[in-house]
């Protein structure tokens, strides 16, 4: 199959040999599980259980809420201990709403939906099943998969690309999954294709995974609609839009979805989760996680119940051989630093890395020498050095003008920078700051309206007050006049000049 070129990219040291030969091991069920209500992009799930409730394995413990959301399921049977704030596996290390449960060790299944044959089901039935199973993009994006499956209704789709590139260094979980569960991945891919009403499936695997490539090629023999393609090894080959360009030559316009050009990308792990959800009725409760890095004693690939504290994974791998310079969730290029090892593995956690200082190669930052390495490395055709210079001077709008919003934060620029400038952090800072500014502006707009309403109201009140005063005055005057008249009529004969003086004193003092 003809492949197409993409611009930029880098060749990091892949370090995949640490775990590429390690078969997936099943991590023993930990005594406590922490399931955050938000393990996906979109709205937070709504808890369905209370402290003290007994739950069974696979039971829904939080329901999807809103348009874009995903439910959360109990990874084993046990007792809910509570719904509370718990440190998130996120760079902020801030707490978020989490359901904590205690395993009863029985691992008893709850009532599961019946197995389905996807090829005798309608696309809607498949999508609905994926939705209730809580499947999200497992490559790290964590976008609810069902939403992407419903795209088949609104868009005319041509091609499904299954992303097996796994371009992040160290990670081998997708590699192992493809080798060990090739049939499941393939069935999941074809199930997704059916849900999307797509005839053409391409499974793209980077050429540095020859075993996975050959296993998948073998598995797809006899399926004319599925093609397995070896693509060049280069970071960030797995970026959705770039992957599509490599295998089809079509470039996704800026600000559009890949679905707008008739393509959808799903990760291999997502395909496998879809397979499990449809064929067996099991929700997403486990995932494969690569535990690796120079500071890990025995790097492994583990099948982990979602909600397991990261610390348990590291302990299972023999702990740390030395103090880790960084503990990361995900790969070294786009992964997030982990603040607390108590934080749990969530649906999007594909790796846990403990890196030594030599591996991160952290060095002191120097001024930019305008070497242009970042320009060459940028897969998006941006000029990172200029954007960072503007952000440094707090000129965020100027950075947007030269393409900040087209940046995918892949980190290729910062990786090659000879001056060790934290380019990616500049861009992430600017994007976050701009979002906050947008929020502030929205708030300002609201407050502006409120202030205007208040102004109108005040004026109205003032007017009403004045009117009332005027009315009262008029009434008083009228009363006085009437009295005066009566008096005058009464005393008409007696003293007519008095009437005028009464009238004068009866007028109320001017209030202002």
């Amino acid at each position: 199959m003809k492949l197409f070129k993409i611009r930029g990219g880098v060749h990091p040291e892949y370090q995949k040999r640490l775990t590429r030969k390690n078969e997936i091991e099943v991590l023993p069920m930990p005594p406590m599980l922490h399931m955050p209500l938000q393990q996906h992009i979109g709205a937070r799930a709504e808890p369905e259980v209370n402290a003290g409730d007994k739950v069974k394995k696979g039971q829904v413990i939080a329901l999807a809420k809103g348009m874009i959301s995903a439910p959360v399921h109990a990874s084993t049977s046990g007792t809910i201990l509570g719904i509370h704030e718990f440190p998130a596996p996120h760079a902020s290390g801030l707490p978020w709403q989490t359901i904590t449960m205690k395993s009863d060790g029985k691992d008893e299944w709850g009532e599961m939906p019946p197995p389905m044959n996807p090829f005798e089901s309608t696309p809607e039935e498949i999508s609905d099943r994926v939705a209730i199973s809580g499947v999200v993009g497992m490559g790290g994006a964590t976008f609810p998969s069902a939403i992407k499956l419903y795209l088949g209704k609104s868009h005319q789709l041509k091609t499904l690309v299954i992303n097996g590139s796994e371009c992040e260094p160290y990670l081998t979980c997708d590699d192992r999954l493809m080798q060990e569960k090739a049939d499941g991945v393939l069935d999941g891919a074809r199930t997704i294709a059916r849900a999307l009403r797509v005839e053409n499936v391409i499974i793209a695997i980077e050429s540095n995974k020859p075993d996975a490539l050959s296993v998948m090629k073998e598995a797809t023999k006899g399926y004319s609609d599925v093609k397995v393609v070896g693509i060049p090894t280069r970071y960030p080959m797995g970026a959705e839009k770039h992957l599509i360009q490599v295998v089809t030559g079509v470039e996704t316009p800026s600000g559009k979805l890949t679905a707008d050009i008739g393509m959808v990308v799903h990760n291999v792990a997502t395909a496998y989760a879809v397979h499990v959800a449809v064929r067996y009725g099991y929700p997403l409760m486990t995932r494969v996680v690569t535990v690796s890095g120079g500071a890990i004693k025995e790097p492994k690939n583990l099948l982990v119940p979602i909600g397991t504290p990261v610390g348990s994974l590291i302990d299972y791998c023999g702990g740390l051989t030395q103090e880790a310079h960084r503990i990361l969730i995900g790969g070294p290029m786009m992964g997030q630093p982990l603040i607390s090892t108590r934080s749990p593995v969530v649906k999007g956690t594909n790796g846990v890395l403990a890196l030594t200082k030599e591996e991160t190669r952290k060095q002191d930052e120097m001024p930019c020498i305008r070497c242009g390495s970042c320009v060459t490395a940028c897969p998006c055709g941006l000029v990172p050095l200029e954007m960072a210079a503007r952000i440094r001077k707090e000129e965020l709008d100027a950075a947007v003008d030269i393409g900040l919003m087209d940046c995918v934060s892949c980190g290729a620029c910062a990786y090659v920078c000879p001056s060790y400038i934290p380019l990616t952090q500049y861009f992430n800072y600017a994007k976050g700051r701009l979002k906050a500014i947008q929020g502030e502006q929205r708030k300002q707009e609201i407050t502006k309206q409120l202030a205007e309403q208040r102004e109108v109201r005040l004026v109205e009140q003032m007017r009403a007050k004045k009117e009332m005063l005027a009315k009262r005055k008029a009434e008083k005057a009228a009363k006085a006049a009437a009295q005066a008249e009566a008096k005058a009529a009464e005393e008409a004969t007696a003293a007519p000049q008095e009437a005028t003086s009464t009238e004068m004193t009866s007028s109320p003092p001017e209030v202002n």
């Binding site: 801030l94 978020w96 001024p367 952000i391 407050t447």
Partner: protein, 179 residues
């Protein structure tokens, strides 16, 4: 002498005439800058800039009598926009960005006097006379007008804590400090 005077006068007349004609054809209406600037300002009339409201502040800005960094609620973003609009140079890095905050009523001290109601430019206080007041966080502009008016000093500004949803990466440390 006469020729000199004559020729200069003539020249002046000719050029003046030409310019007069040109000014007729190239006439432009007055400068709507003040209105545009006023529309950019938050419009909450909070008075933190030292001007009695957003309107006078806009006038001062358009006249160049006020600094574009004058508006704390607008922050750096507004300063940058104003600088662009008025095409002036501004060093935004030196501008202090106010921490986002909301007014908070200490309910043990509040006597329900409703004086803060009258001060708040966005009606962010709820409650009634002789009842404890609270603040609607979403619409409080942290203009601090309510703080001084409160007879029991029960209102304070509390910084808005970041959440996982609102957190973003901090700006990288300046390298020159690493000496």
């Amino acid at each position: 002498m006469l020729t000199a005077i004559g020729s200069l006068t003539l020249l002046g007349l000719v050029l003046g005439g030409l310019l007069g004609i040109a000014s007729k054809y190239l006439k432009v209406e007055g400068n709507p800058l003040v209105i545009e600037v006023e529309e950019m300002l938050p419009g909450s009339q909070c008075g933190q800039c030292g001007f009695p409201g957003c309107g006078p502040a806009a006038e001062a800005l358009a006249d160049g009598k006020a600094d574009v960094t004058l508006c704390p609620p607008g922050g750096r973003a507004l300063a940058a926009d104003l600088a662009k609009k008025l095409s002036v140079e501004v060093d935004l890095t030196s501008m202090e960005e106010k921490e986002p905050a909301v007014a908070f009523v200490n309910e043990d001290l509040c006597i329900g006097c409703t004086r803060c109601f009258a001060q708040c430019p966005t009606d962010a206080f709820i409650g009634a006379p002789k009842q404890i007041h609270t603040v609607i966080g979403e619409i409080c502009t942290s203009c601090e007008k309510c703080i001084d008016i409160c007879p029991t000093e029960c209102i304070t500004m509390q910084p808005l804590e970041a959440t996982v949803q609102t957190w973003h990466w901090p700006k990288p440390k300046e390298r020159r400090l690493a000496a």
